[in-house]
Symmetry: C2
Subunit: 316 residues, 2 copies
Protein backbone atom coordinates (compact mmCIF):
# COMPACT_ATOMS: atom_id res chain seq x y z
CA UNK A 1 0.00 0.00 0.00
CA UNK A 2 1.32 3.44 -0.99
CA UNK A 3 0.32 6.12 1.50
CA UNK A 4 0.19 9.73 0.25
CA UNK A 5 -0.71 12.87 2.21
CA UNK A 6 -2.80 15.26 0.10
CA UNK A 7 -3.32 18.89 1.09
CA UNK A 8 -6.48 20.26 -0.54
CA UNK A 9 -6.29 23.84 0.75
CA UNK A 10 -4.53 27.08 -0.25
CA UNK A 11 -5.06 26.77 -4.01
CA UNK A 12 -7.18 29.09 -6.19
CA UNK A 13 -10.09 26.63 -6.51
CA UNK A 14 -12.18 25.46 -3.52
CA UNK A 15 -11.10 22.25 -1.80
CA UNK A 16 -14.30 20.37 -2.64
CA UNK A 17 -13.56 20.83 -6.37
CA UNK A 18 -9.98 19.61 -6.04
CA UNK A 19 -11.17 16.66 -3.93
CA UNK A 20 -12.66 15.06 -7.05
CA UNK A 21 -9.06 14.49 -8.19
CA UNK A 22 -8.40 12.42 -5.06
CA UNK A 23 -11.30 10.10 -5.92
CA UNK A 24 -9.95 9.68 -9.45
CA UNK A 25 -6.44 8.96 -8.17
CA UNK A 26 -7.75 6.31 -5.77
CA UNK A 27 -9.66 4.73 -8.66
CA UNK A 28 -6.51 4.88 -10.86
CA UNK A 29 -4.39 2.99 -8.37
CA UNK A 30 -5.80 0.10 -6.28
CA UNK A 31 -2.69 0.20 -4.12
CA UNK A 32 -3.13 3.81 -3.02
CA UNK A 33 -4.23 5.10 0.39
CA UNK A 34 -4.76 8.87 0.78
CA UNK A 35 -4.75 11.01 3.90
CA UNK A 36 -6.73 14.05 2.74
CA UNK A 37 -6.20 17.33 4.66
CA UNK A 38 -8.90 20.02 4.59
CA UNK A 39 -12.16 21.04 6.25
CA UNK A 40 -13.92 17.84 7.22
CA UNK A 41 -17.40 19.41 7.03
CA UNK A 42 -16.76 20.50 3.45
CA UNK A 43 -14.99 17.37 2.22
CA UNK A 44 -17.14 14.70 3.90
CA UNK A 45 -19.69 14.84 1.08
CA UNK A 46 -17.09 14.19 -1.64
CA UNK A 47 -14.58 11.92 0.08
CA UNK A 48 -16.49 10.32 2.98
CA UNK A 49 -17.18 6.58 3.05
CA UNK A 50 -14.17 5.52 0.96
CA UNK A 51 -12.04 3.01 2.89
CA UNK A 52 -8.86 4.14 1.10
CA UNK A 53 -9.31 7.78 2.03
CA UNK A 54 -8.92 9.15 5.54
CA UNK A 55 -10.11 12.70 6.07
CA UNK A 56 -8.08 14.77 8.54
CA UNK A 57 -9.74 17.97 9.67
CA UNK A 58 -7.45 21.01 9.18
CA UNK A 59 -9.34 24.22 9.96
CA UNK A 60 -6.50 26.67 9.16
CA UNK A 61 -5.25 27.64 5.67
CA UNK A 62 -1.83 28.93 4.63
CA UNK A 63 -1.83 31.49 1.82
CA UNK A 64 0.61 33.08 -0.61
CA UNK A 65 0.07 36.48 0.98
CA UNK A 66 1.67 35.74 4.33
CA UNK A 67 5.25 35.28 5.46
CA UNK A 68 5.95 31.52 5.32
CA UNK A 69 7.93 31.37 8.58
CA UNK A 70 5.26 33.38 10.43
CA UNK A 71 2.53 31.17 8.93
CA UNK A 72 4.36 28.06 10.09
CA UNK A 73 4.77 29.45 13.60
CA UNK A 74 1.13 30.46 14.04
CA UNK A 75 -0.97 28.05 11.97
CA UNK A 76 -0.50 24.70 13.67
CA UNK A 77 -3.99 23.62 12.58
CA UNK A 78 -3.28 24.24 8.89
CA UNK A 79 -3.47 21.42 6.36
CA UNK A 80 0.24 21.76 5.51
CA UNK A 81 1.51 21.62 9.09
CA UNK A 82 -0.87 18.79 10.05
CA UNK A 83 0.14 16.75 7.00
CA UNK A 84 3.88 17.20 7.61
CA UNK A 85 3.37 16.40 11.27
CA UNK A 86 1.71 13.10 10.38
CA UNK A 87 4.42 12.46 7.75
CA UNK A 88 7.06 12.86 10.43
CA UNK A 89 5.43 10.27 12.66
CA UNK A 90 5.36 6.54 12.10
CA UNK A 91 2.39 6.79 9.74
CA UNK A 92 3.97 5.15 6.70
CA UNK A 93 3.31 8.25 4.55
CA UNK A 94 5.69 8.15 1.55
CA UNK A 95 5.01 11.45 -0.18
CA UNK A 96 3.20 14.77 0.22
CA UNK A 97 1.09 16.51 -2.41
CA UNK A 98 -0.12 20.13 -2.37
CA UNK A 99 -1.20 23.03 -4.59
CA UNK A 100 -0.78 25.48 -1.71
CA UNK A 101 1.86 28.20 -1.20
CA UNK A 102 5.39 26.98 -2.08
CA UNK A 103 7.13 29.07 0.57
CA UNK A 104 4.97 27.70 3.40
CA UNK A 105 5.38 24.13 2.13
CA UNK A 106 9.13 24.57 1.94
CA UNK A 107 9.48 26.07 5.42
CA UNK A 108 7.17 23.49 7.01
CA UNK A 109 9.04 20.63 5.31
CA UNK A 110 12.41 21.94 6.48
CA UNK A 111 11.17 22.44 10.06
CA UNK A 112 9.09 19.28 10.49
CA UNK A 113 10.59 16.70 8.13
CA UNK A 114 14.20 17.93 7.93
CA UNK A 115 16.68 17.31 5.15
CA UNK A 116 18.34 14.14 3.87
CA UNK A 117 22.09 14.18 4.55
CA UNK A 118 22.26 17.99 4.98
CA UNK A 119 21.79 18.63 1.24
CA UNK A 120 19.96 21.74 0.00
CA UNK A 121 16.51 20.73 -1.27
CA UNK A 122 15.76 21.48 -4.92
CA UNK A 123 12.71 22.06 -7.05
CA UNK A 124 12.86 19.58 -9.93
CA UNK A 125 10.64 19.63 -13.03
CA UNK A 126 10.24 16.76 -15.48
CA UNK A 127 9.84 17.65 -19.15
CA UNK A 128 9.69 15.81 -22.48
CA UNK A 129 12.33 15.78 -25.20
CA UNK A 130 11.39 16.21 -28.82
CA UNK A 131 11.02 12.42 -29.15
CA UNK A 132 8.75 12.17 -26.08
CA UNK A 133 11.33 10.70 -23.66
CA UNK A 134 11.53 12.33 -20.22
CA UNK A 135 14.27 14.58 -18.87
CA UNK A 136 14.46 16.78 -15.81
CA UNK A 137 15.77 20.23 -14.85
CA UNK A 138 17.39 20.52 -11.40
CA UNK A 139 17.16 23.09 -9.78
CA UNK A 140 14.16 25.12 -10.98
CA UNK A 141 14.06 27.74 -8.26
CA UNK A 142 14.84 26.60 -4.69
CA UNK A 143 18.51 27.72 -4.78
CA UNK A 144 18.78 31.02 -6.61
CA UNK A 145 22.42 31.74 -5.76
CA UNK A 146 24.65 28.74 -5.26
CA UNK A 147 28.21 27.52 -5.05
CA UNK A 148 29.59 25.12 -7.70
CA UNK A 149 29.62 22.19 -5.24
CA UNK A 150 25.83 22.46 -4.94
CA UNK A 151 25.43 21.78 -8.65
CA UNK A 152 27.06 18.38 -8.15
CA UNK A 153 24.47 17.64 -5.44
CA UNK A 154 21.70 18.70 -7.86
CA UNK A 155 23.11 16.26 -10.43
CA UNK A 156 22.90 13.41 -7.90
CA UNK A 157 19.31 14.27 -6.92
CA UNK A 158 18.35 14.52 -10.59
CA UNK A 159 19.85 11.10 -11.26
CA UNK A 160 18.01 9.61 -8.29
CA UNK A 161 14.79 11.08 -9.66
CA UNK A 162 15.30 9.73 -13.18
CA UNK A 163 16.13 6.28 -11.79
CA UNK A 164 12.97 6.36 -9.64
CA UNK A 165 10.87 7.05 -12.75
CA UNK A 166 12.49 4.20 -14.63
CA UNK A 167 15.53 5.56 -16.51
CA UNK A 168 18.17 2.99 -15.71
CA UNK A 169 21.40 4.90 -16.43
CA UNK A 170 20.63 8.61 -16.48
CA UNK A 171 23.26 10.99 -17.87
CA UNK A 172 24.03 14.55 -16.77
CA UNK A 173 24.31 17.80 -18.76
CA UNK A 174 25.31 21.19 -17.33
CA UNK A 175 23.37 24.21 -18.58
CA UNK A 176 25.77 26.76 -20.04
CA UNK A 177 26.17 29.49 -22.64
CA UNK A 178 28.34 27.30 -24.85
CA UNK A 179 29.06 23.62 -25.44
CA UNK A 180 32.78 23.84 -24.69
CA UNK A 181 34.01 23.18 -21.12
CA UNK A 182 35.61 26.65 -20.95
CA UNK A 183 32.24 28.36 -21.53
CA UNK A 184 30.13 29.52 -18.59
CA UNK A 185 29.88 31.85 -15.62
CA UNK A 186 32.58 31.43 -12.97
CA UNK A 187 30.26 29.10 -11.00
CA UNK A 188 29.37 27.01 -14.05
CA UNK A 189 32.99 26.66 -15.18
CA UNK A 190 33.97 25.38 -11.74
CA UNK A 191 30.93 23.06 -11.63
CA UNK A 192 32.02 21.64 -14.99
CA UNK A 193 35.41 20.75 -13.49
CA UNK A 194 33.80 19.22 -10.39
CA UNK A 195 31.39 17.15 -12.48
CA UNK A 196 34.30 15.96 -14.68
CA UNK A 197 36.14 14.87 -11.52
CA UNK A 198 33.07 13.36 -9.85
CA UNK A 199 32.94 10.07 -11.72
CA UNK A 200 29.27 10.74 -12.50
CA UNK A 201 28.09 10.08 -16.10
CA UNK A 202 28.64 13.68 -17.26
CA UNK A 203 28.09 14.69 -20.90
CA UNK A 204 29.50 18.23 -20.52
CA UNK A 205 27.74 21.52 -21.15
CA UNK A 206 24.32 21.75 -22.78
CA UNK A 207 23.00 24.90 -24.45
CA UNK A 208 19.40 26.09 -24.39
CA UNK A 209 19.08 25.18 -28.07
CA UNK A 210 20.03 21.56 -27.39
CA UNK A 211 17.77 20.80 -24.40
CA UNK A 212 15.19 18.85 -26.37
CA UNK A 213 17.57 16.86 -28.52
CA UNK A 214 20.66 16.19 -26.37
CA UNK A 215 21.50 12.83 -24.79
CA UNK A 216 21.43 14.07 -21.18
CA UNK A 217 18.58 13.05 -18.88
CA UNK A 218 19.32 15.54 -16.10
CA UNK A 219 19.96 19.22 -16.88
CA UNK A 220 21.82 20.76 -13.95
CA UNK A 221 21.67 24.48 -13.21
CA UNK A 222 21.19 26.98 -10.38
CA UNK A 223 17.62 27.80 -9.40
CA UNK A 224 17.67 31.19 -11.13
CA UNK A 225 18.72 29.83 -14.55
CA UNK A 226 16.46 26.79 -14.18
CA UNK A 227 13.46 28.95 -13.41
CA UNK A 228 14.19 31.24 -16.38
CA UNK A 229 14.68 28.16 -18.56
CA UNK A 230 11.43 26.50 -17.55
CA UNK A 231 9.29 29.61 -17.90
CA UNK A 232 10.96 30.51 -21.22
CA UNK A 233 10.11 27.07 -22.62
CA UNK A 234 6.52 27.54 -21.52
CA UNK A 235 6.31 31.10 -22.89
CA UNK A 236 7.96 30.21 -26.20
CA UNK A 237 5.85 27.11 -26.77
CA UNK A 238 2.59 28.92 -26.05
CA UNK A 239 3.62 31.83 -28.30
CA UNK A 240 4.53 29.53 -31.20
CA UNK A 241 1.29 27.57 -30.84
CA UNK A 242 -0.77 30.75 -30.77
CA UNK A 243 1.03 32.03 -33.89
CA UNK A 244 0.38 28.69 -35.55
CA UNK A 245 -3.33 29.13 -34.79
CA UNK A 246 -3.29 32.61 -36.32
CA UNK A 247 -1.67 31.20 -39.46
CA UNK A 248 -4.65 28.88 -39.76
CA UNK A 249 -3.51 25.59 -38.17
CA UNK A 250 -6.20 23.19 -36.99
CA UNK A 251 -7.58 24.17 -33.58
CA UNK A 252 -7.79 20.65 -32.21
CA UNK A 253 -4.17 19.96 -33.17
CA UNK A 254 -3.03 23.19 -31.48
CA UNK A 255 -4.98 22.33 -28.34
CA UNK A 256 -3.34 18.92 -28.10
CA UNK A 257 0.12 20.45 -28.39
CA UNK A 258 -0.77 23.24 -25.97
CA UNK A 259 -1.67 20.67 -23.31
CA UNK A 260 1.86 19.23 -23.61
CA UNK A 261 3.33 22.59 -22.60
CA UNK A 262 0.72 23.61 -20.06
CA UNK A 263 2.86 23.01 -17.00
CA UNK A 264 0.01 24.09 -14.69
CA UNK A 265 -2.09 21.01 -15.26
CA UNK A 266 0.72 18.51 -15.82
CA UNK A 267 2.81 16.64 -13.24
CA UNK A 268 3.89 19.53 -11.06
CA UNK A 269 7.28 20.39 -9.62
CA UNK A 270 8.95 18.05 -7.15
CA UNK A 271 10.66 19.27 -4.01
CA UNK A 272 13.48 16.83 -3.33
CA UNK A 273 15.89 16.65 -0.44
CA UNK A 274 13.59 16.77 2.56
CA UNK A 275 12.73 13.46 4.22
CA UNK A 276 9.54 13.05 2.18
CA UNK A 277 9.32 13.90 -1.53
CA UNK A 278 6.79 16.68 -2.17
CA UNK A 279 4.89 17.12 -5.42
CA UNK A 280 3.72 20.71 -5.78
CA UNK A 281 0.91 21.52 -8.20
CA UNK A 282 0.27 25.02 -9.54
CA UNK A 283 -1.98 27.31 -7.50
CA UNK A 284 -4.38 27.35 -10.49
CA UNK A 285 -4.73 23.57 -10.21
CA UNK A 286 -7.89 21.72 -11.22
CA UNK A 287 -9.16 18.31 -10.06
CA UNK A 288 -7.19 16.86 -13.02
CA UNK A 289 -4.00 18.49 -11.70
CA UNK A 290 -4.60 16.88 -8.30
CA UNK A 291 -5.18 13.49 -9.92
CA UNK A 292 -1.96 13.89 -11.98
CA UNK A 293 0.25 15.02 -9.11
CA UNK A 294 -0.99 12.22 -6.84
CA UNK A 295 -0.06 9.90 -9.73
CA UNK A 296 3.44 11.45 -9.84
CA UNK A 297 3.81 11.05 -6.08
CA UNK A 298 2.82 7.35 -6.33
CA UNK A 299 5.35 6.80 -9.10
CA UNK A 300 8.13 8.42 -7.05
CA UNK A 301 7.20 6.49 -3.90
CA UNK A 302 7.07 3.17 -5.80
CA UNK A 303 10.40 4.01 -7.44
CA UNK A 304 12.03 4.48 -4.03
CA UNK A 305 13.09 8.06 -4.66
CA UNK A 306 14.24 8.82 -1.13
CA UNK A 307 16.22 5.59 -0.75
CA UNK A 308 17.93 6.45 -4.04
CA UNK A 309 18.80 9.97 -2.89
CA UNK A 310 20.11 8.65 0.42
CA UNK A 311 22.22 6.07 -1.42
CA UNK A 312 23.69 8.72 -3.72
CA UNK A 313 24.84 10.86 -0.81
CA UNK A 314 26.00 8.04 1.42
CA UNK A 315 28.49 6.81 -1.18
CA UNK A 316 30.23 10.20 -1.24
Amino acid sequence: MIKIAVDLKGADRPQEQLAAGVLDAVRDNADLFVYAFGDRAVLEDVLGGNDRIELIDSPETMTNDEDPAEAFRTKKESSIVKAMQLGKEDSGIQAFVSCGPTGAIFVSAMMLLGRIARISPILLVELEKQDGTPFCVADCGANVDCRPEKLVDFAKMGMAYMKAVGVESPRIGLLSNGAEDRKGSAVVKRANELLRESGLPFDGNVEGSGLFTCASDVIVCDGFSGNVLLKTIEGSAKTVISQMRELGADRELCDRLYARYDFNTRGGAVLLGTKLPIVKGHGAATALTVRNIIGSACRLASGGINEKIRAAFETQ
Copy 2:
Protein backbone atom coordinates in the same frame (compact mmCIF):
# COMPACT_ATOMS: atom_id res chain seq x y z
CA MET B 1 25.34 58.10 -48.05
CA ILE B 2 25.59 55.29 -45.46
CA LYS B 3 29.01 53.62 -45.45
CA ILE B 4 29.21 50.05 -44.13
CA ALA B 5 32.30 47.81 -43.84
CA VAL B 6 31.48 44.21 -44.75
CA ASP B 7 33.80 41.33 -43.87
CA LEU B 8 33.17 38.37 -46.18
CA LYS B 9 35.68 35.91 -44.69
CA GLY B 10 35.78 33.45 -41.78
CA ALA B 11 32.26 32.05 -42.23
CA ASP B 12 31.34 28.47 -43.18
CA ARG B 13 30.44 29.33 -46.79
CA PRO B 14 32.99 30.70 -49.30
CA GLN B 15 33.26 34.47 -49.62
CA GLU B 16 32.13 34.57 -53.27
CA GLN B 17 28.79 33.01 -52.24
CA LEU B 18 28.24 35.49 -49.41
CA ALA B 19 29.20 38.36 -51.74
CA ALA B 20 25.91 37.94 -53.61
CA GLY B 21 24.24 39.32 -50.47
CA VAL B 22 26.28 42.54 -50.78
CA LEU B 23 24.95 43.09 -54.32
CA ASP B 24 21.37 42.57 -53.06
CA ALA B 25 21.90 44.98 -50.15
CA VAL B 26 23.26 47.66 -52.49
CA ARG B 27 20.22 47.17 -54.72
CA ASP B 28 17.91 47.34 -51.65
CA ASN B 29 19.27 50.69 -50.55
CA ALA B 30 20.24 53.42 -53.05
CA ASP B 31 21.93 55.33 -50.24
CA LEU B 32 24.37 52.55 -49.31
CA PHE B 33 28.10 52.36 -49.99
CA VAL B 34 29.94 49.14 -49.04
CA TYR B 35 33.61 48.54 -48.35
CA ALA B 36 33.90 44.79 -48.95
CA PHE B 37 36.83 42.96 -47.30
CA GLY B 38 38.07 39.66 -48.75
CA ASP B 39 40.34 38.24 -51.44
CA ARG B 40 40.21 40.68 -54.33
CA ALA B 41 41.02 37.98 -56.93
CA VAL B 42 38.05 35.90 -55.74
CA LEU B 43 35.55 38.73 -55.25
CA GLU B 44 36.35 40.84 -58.33
CA ASP B 45 34.07 38.69 -60.53
CA VAL B 46 31.04 39.14 -58.26
CA LEU B 47 31.50 42.67 -56.88
CA GLY B 48 33.79 44.43 -59.39
CA GLY B 49 32.54 47.35 -61.48
CA ASN B 50 29.88 48.56 -59.01
CA ASP B 51 30.46 52.21 -58.11
CA ARG B 52 28.90 51.75 -54.67
CA ILE B 53 31.17 48.86 -53.71
CA GLU B 54 34.87 49.19 -52.99
CA LEU B 55 36.83 45.97 -52.73
CA ILE B 56 39.64 45.93 -50.18
CA ASP B 57 42.06 43.05 -50.53
CA SER B 58 42.50 41.14 -47.23
CA PRO B 59 44.64 38.03 -47.78
CA GLU B 60 44.48 36.71 -44.16
CA THR B 61 41.47 35.00 -42.49
CA MET B 62 40.64 34.78 -38.80
CA THR B 63 39.00 31.53 -37.68
CA ASN B 64 37.11 30.15 -34.70
CA ASP B 65 39.90 27.69 -33.96
CA GLU B 66 42.53 30.21 -32.92
CA ASP B 67 43.03 32.37 -29.85
CA PRO B 68 41.39 35.75 -30.63
CA ALA B 69 44.13 37.87 -29.02
CA GLU B 70 46.85 35.90 -30.79
CA ALA B 71 44.97 36.16 -34.11
CA PHE B 72 44.66 39.92 -33.65
CA ARG B 73 48.38 40.27 -32.92
CA THR B 74 49.56 38.22 -35.90
CA LYS B 75 46.97 38.69 -38.67
CA LYS B 76 47.22 42.34 -39.59
CA GLU B 77 46.21 41.55 -43.17
CA SER B 78 42.97 39.83 -42.11
CA SER B 79 39.61 41.17 -43.27
CA ILE B 80 38.55 41.93 -39.68
CA VAL B 81 41.65 43.91 -38.72
CA LYS B 82 41.73 45.78 -42.04
CA ALA B 83 38.05 46.70 -41.78
CA MET B 84 38.38 47.94 -38.18
CA GLN B 85 41.51 49.86 -39.12
CA LEU B 86 39.62 51.65 -41.87
CA GLY B 87 36.69 52.19 -39.52
CA LYS B 88 39.01 53.89 -37.06
CA GLU B 89 40.29 56.33 -39.66
CA ASP B 90 38.38 59.23 -41.13
CA SER B 91 36.61 56.99 -43.68
CA GLY B 92 33.02 57.79 -42.72
CA ILE B 93 32.28 54.11 -42.01
CA GLN B 94 29.23 53.92 -39.73
CA ALA B 95 28.94 50.21 -39.00
CA PHE B 96 30.75 46.90 -39.41
CA VAL B 97 29.21 43.62 -40.56
CA SER B 98 30.72 40.13 -40.29
CA CYS B 99 29.90 36.42 -40.08
CA GLY B 100 33.40 35.62 -38.85
CA PRO B 101 34.59 34.51 -35.38
CA THR B 102 32.94 36.51 -32.57
CA GLY B 103 35.98 36.44 -30.28
CA ALA B 104 38.30 37.88 -32.93
CA ILE B 105 35.75 40.54 -33.88
CA PHE B 106 35.34 41.49 -30.24
CA VAL B 107 39.06 41.71 -29.49
CA SER B 108 39.81 43.64 -32.70
CA ALA B 109 36.98 46.09 -32.01
CA MET B 110 38.17 46.70 -28.45
CA MET B 111 41.78 47.20 -29.55
CA LEU B 112 41.22 49.24 -32.71
CA LEU B 113 37.92 51.07 -32.21
CA GLY B 114 37.80 51.30 -28.42
CA ARG B 115 34.73 51.69 -26.24
CA ILE B 116 32.20 54.46 -25.87
CA ALA B 117 32.42 56.10 -22.44
CA ARG B 118 34.22 53.11 -20.81
CA ILE B 119 31.08 50.96 -20.83
CA SER B 120 31.30 47.17 -21.25
CA PRO B 121 30.14 46.25 -24.76
CA ILE B 122 27.15 43.91 -25.00
CA LEU B 123 25.74 41.47 -27.50
CA LEU B 124 22.14 42.48 -28.18
CA VAL B 125 19.55 40.42 -30.06
CA GLU B 126 16.26 41.75 -31.43
CA LEU B 127 13.25 39.42 -31.30
CA GLU B 128 9.53 39.63 -31.99
CA LYS B 129 6.72 39.59 -29.44
CA GLN B 130 3.65 37.45 -29.98
CA ASP B 131 1.97 40.39 -31.76
CA GLY B 132 4.95 40.95 -34.07
CA THR B 133 6.34 44.10 -32.39
CA PRO B 134 10.10 44.13 -31.73
CA PHE B 135 11.87 43.78 -28.40
CA CYS B 136 15.50 43.17 -27.51
CA VAL B 137 17.53 41.14 -25.02
CA ALA B 138 20.64 42.82 -23.57
CA ASP B 139 23.10 41.19 -22.86
CA CYS B 140 23.11 37.90 -24.80
CA GLY B 141 26.60 36.71 -24.00
CA ALA B 142 29.35 39.34 -23.87
CA ASN B 143 29.29 39.71 -20.05
CA VAL B 144 28.82 36.33 -18.44
CA ASP B 145 29.46 37.41 -14.87
CA CYS B 146 28.54 40.97 -13.99
CA ARG B 147 27.90 43.41 -11.19
CA PRO B 148 24.40 44.92 -10.72
CA GLU B 149 25.57 48.36 -11.95
CA LYS B 150 26.37 46.83 -15.35
CA LEU B 151 22.74 45.82 -15.81
CA VAL B 152 21.75 49.49 -15.64
CA ASP B 153 24.25 50.19 -18.45
CA PHE B 154 22.74 47.33 -20.48
CA ALA B 155 19.31 48.91 -20.01
CA LYS B 156 20.59 52.22 -21.41
CA MET B 157 22.20 50.55 -24.42
CA GLY B 158 19.04 48.55 -25.06
CA MET B 159 16.97 51.75 -24.95
CA ALA B 160 19.36 53.47 -27.38
CA TYR B 161 18.99 50.48 -29.71
CA MET B 162 15.19 50.46 -29.59
CA LYS B 163 15.08 54.23 -30.22
CA ALA B 164 17.43 53.81 -33.20
CA VAL B 165 15.07 51.22 -34.72
CA GLY B 166 12.09 53.51 -34.25
CA VAL B 167 10.53 52.76 -30.84
CA GLU B 168 10.00 56.23 -29.43
CA SER B 169 9.71 55.53 -25.70
CA PRO B 170 11.16 52.10 -24.96
CA ARG B 171 10.47 50.54 -21.56
CA ILE B 172 12.72 48.26 -19.52
CA GLY B 173 12.08 44.86 -17.93
CA LEU B 174 14.55 42.93 -15.76
CA LEU B 175 14.73 39.16 -16.32
CA SER B 176 14.08 37.34 -13.05
CA ASN B 177 12.66 34.19 -11.51
CA GLY B 178 9.57 35.99 -10.25
CA ALA B 179 7.58 39.11 -10.99
CA GLU B 180 7.92 40.62 -7.51
CA ASP B 181 10.82 43.01 -6.79
CA ARG B 182 12.09 40.76 -3.99
CA LYS B 183 12.59 37.84 -6.41
CA GLY B 184 15.96 37.20 -8.04
CA SER B 185 19.59 36.29 -7.50
CA ALA B 186 21.57 38.69 -5.29
CA VAL B 187 22.77 40.54 -8.43
CA VAL B 188 19.29 40.79 -9.92
CA LYS B 189 17.70 42.00 -6.66
CA ARG B 190 20.29 44.79 -6.41
CA ALA B 191 19.87 45.63 -10.11
CA ASN B 192 16.13 45.94 -9.51
CA GLU B 193 16.80 48.54 -6.80
CA LEU B 194 19.26 50.43 -9.01
CA LEU B 195 16.82 50.47 -11.94
CA ARG B 196 14.03 51.70 -9.62
CA GLU B 197 16.32 54.53 -8.48
CA SER B 198 17.64 55.32 -11.98
CA GLY B 199 14.71 57.32 -13.27
CA LEU B 200 14.65 55.09 -16.37
CA PRO B 201 11.22 53.80 -17.54
CA PHE B 202 11.43 50.52 -15.59
CA ASP B 203 8.52 48.04 -15.54
CA GLY B 204 10.03 45.76 -12.89
CA ASN B 205 10.87 42.06 -13.21
CA VAL B 206 9.85 39.97 -16.20
CA GLU B 207 9.63 36.16 -16.12
CA GLY B 208 10.52 33.84 -18.99
CA SER B 209 6.84 33.06 -19.45
CA GLY B 210 6.01 36.73 -20.00
CA LEU B 211 8.72 37.69 -22.52
CA PHE B 212 6.47 37.59 -25.56
CA THR B 213 3.49 39.33 -24.03
CA CYS B 214 4.89 41.88 -21.55
CA ALA B 215 4.97 45.65 -22.13
CA SER B 216 8.77 45.98 -21.89
CA ASP B 217 10.83 46.66 -25.03
CA VAL B 218 14.22 45.92 -23.50
CA ILE B 219 14.82 42.74 -21.45
CA VAL B 220 17.88 43.28 -19.28
CA CYS B 221 19.97 40.37 -18.01
CA ASP B 222 23.56 39.18 -17.62
CA GLY B 223 25.17 37.52 -20.64
CA PHE B 224 24.83 34.01 -19.20
CA SER B 225 21.07 34.24 -18.60
CA GLY B 226 20.55 36.09 -21.89
CA ASN B 227 22.36 33.45 -23.85
CA VAL B 228 20.41 30.65 -22.14
CA LEU B 229 17.19 32.59 -22.78
CA LEU B 230 17.87 33.16 -26.47
CA LYS B 231 18.94 29.60 -27.23
CA THR B 232 16.04 28.18 -25.19
CA ILE B 233 13.56 30.23 -27.22
CA GLU B 234 15.14 28.90 -30.41
CA GLY B 235 15.24 25.29 -29.17
CA SER B 236 11.67 25.39 -27.81
CA ALA B 237 10.22 26.98 -30.94
CA LYS B 238 11.91 24.53 -33.26
CA THR B 239 10.81 21.59 -31.10
CA VAL B 240 7.19 22.74 -31.00
CA ILE B 241 7.14 23.33 -34.76
CA SER B 242 8.61 19.91 -35.44
CA GLN B 243 6.02 18.28 -33.12
CA MET B 244 3.31 20.22 -34.94
CA ARG B 245 4.55 18.75 -38.24
CA GLU B 246 4.45 15.24 -36.77
CA LEU B 247 0.87 15.81 -35.66
CA GLY B 248 0.06 16.56 -39.30
CA ALA B 249 0.15 20.36 -39.60
CA ASP B 250 0.63 21.83 -43.06
CA ARG B 251 4.30 21.81 -44.12
CA GLU B 252 4.28 25.24 -45.74
CA LEU B 253 2.74 26.80 -42.62
CA CYS B 254 5.37 25.15 -40.39
CA ASP B 255 8.17 26.35 -42.68
CA ARG B 256 6.94 29.94 -42.51
CA LEU B 257 6.85 29.84 -38.73
CA TYR B 258 10.24 28.09 -38.55
CA ALA B 259 11.83 30.95 -40.52
CA ARG B 260 10.62 33.35 -37.81
CA TYR B 261 12.64 31.46 -35.20
CA ASP B 262 15.66 30.62 -37.33
CA PHE B 263 17.99 33.13 -35.74
CA ASN B 264 20.85 32.05 -38.05
CA THR B 265 19.40 33.65 -41.16
CA ARG B 266 17.65 36.59 -39.51
CA GLY B 267 19.09 39.94 -38.45
CA GLY B 268 22.06 38.77 -36.39
CA ALA B 269 23.33 39.87 -33.02
CA VAL B 270 24.55 43.41 -32.50
CA LEU B 271 27.71 44.24 -30.60
CA LEU B 272 27.10 47.61 -28.97
CA GLY B 273 29.44 49.79 -26.96
CA THR B 274 32.50 49.98 -29.18
CA LYS B 275 32.89 53.09 -31.32
CA LEU B 276 31.20 51.46 -34.32
CA PRO B 277 28.14 49.22 -34.02
CA ILE B 278 28.86 45.69 -35.26
CA VAL B 279 26.25 43.36 -36.70
CA LYS B 280 27.39 39.76 -36.37
CA GLY B 281 25.78 37.09 -38.54
CA HIS B 282 25.92 33.38 -37.73
CA GLY B 283 28.90 31.38 -39.03
CA ALA B 284 26.42 29.30 -41.07
CA ALA B 285 25.31 32.48 -42.88
CA THR B 286 24.02 32.49 -46.46
CA ALA B 287 23.96 35.34 -48.98
CA LEU B 288 20.49 36.14 -47.58
CA THR B 289 21.95 36.47 -44.07
CA VAL B 290 24.55 38.92 -45.41
CA ARG B 291 21.84 40.93 -47.17
CA ASN B 292 19.77 40.98 -43.95
CA ILE B 293 22.57 41.96 -41.61
CA ILE B 294 23.76 44.75 -43.94
CA GLY B 295 20.13 45.93 -43.84
CA SER B 296 20.22 45.87 -40.01
CA ALA B 297 23.49 47.82 -40.01
CA CYS B 298 21.99 50.47 -42.32
CA ARG B 299 18.95 50.80 -40.09
CA LEU B 300 21.13 51.26 -36.99
CA ALA B 301 23.41 53.78 -38.73
CA SER B 302 20.44 55.78 -40.05
CA GLY B 303 18.88 55.67 -36.60
CA GLY B 304 22.01 57.20 -35.08
CA ILE B 305 22.64 54.32 -32.65
CA ASN B 306 26.05 55.50 -31.48
CA GLU B 307 24.98 59.09 -30.91
CA LYS B 308 22.08 57.74 -28.85
CA ILE B 309 24.36 55.54 -26.74
CA ARG B 310 26.76 58.43 -26.19
CA ALA B 311 23.87 60.69 -25.17
CA ALA B 312 22.59 58.09 -22.68
CA PHE B 313 25.93 57.86 -20.93
CA GLU B 314 26.81 61.53 -21.07
CA THR B 315 23.68 62.50 -19.15
CA GLN B 316 24.70 60.30 -16.22
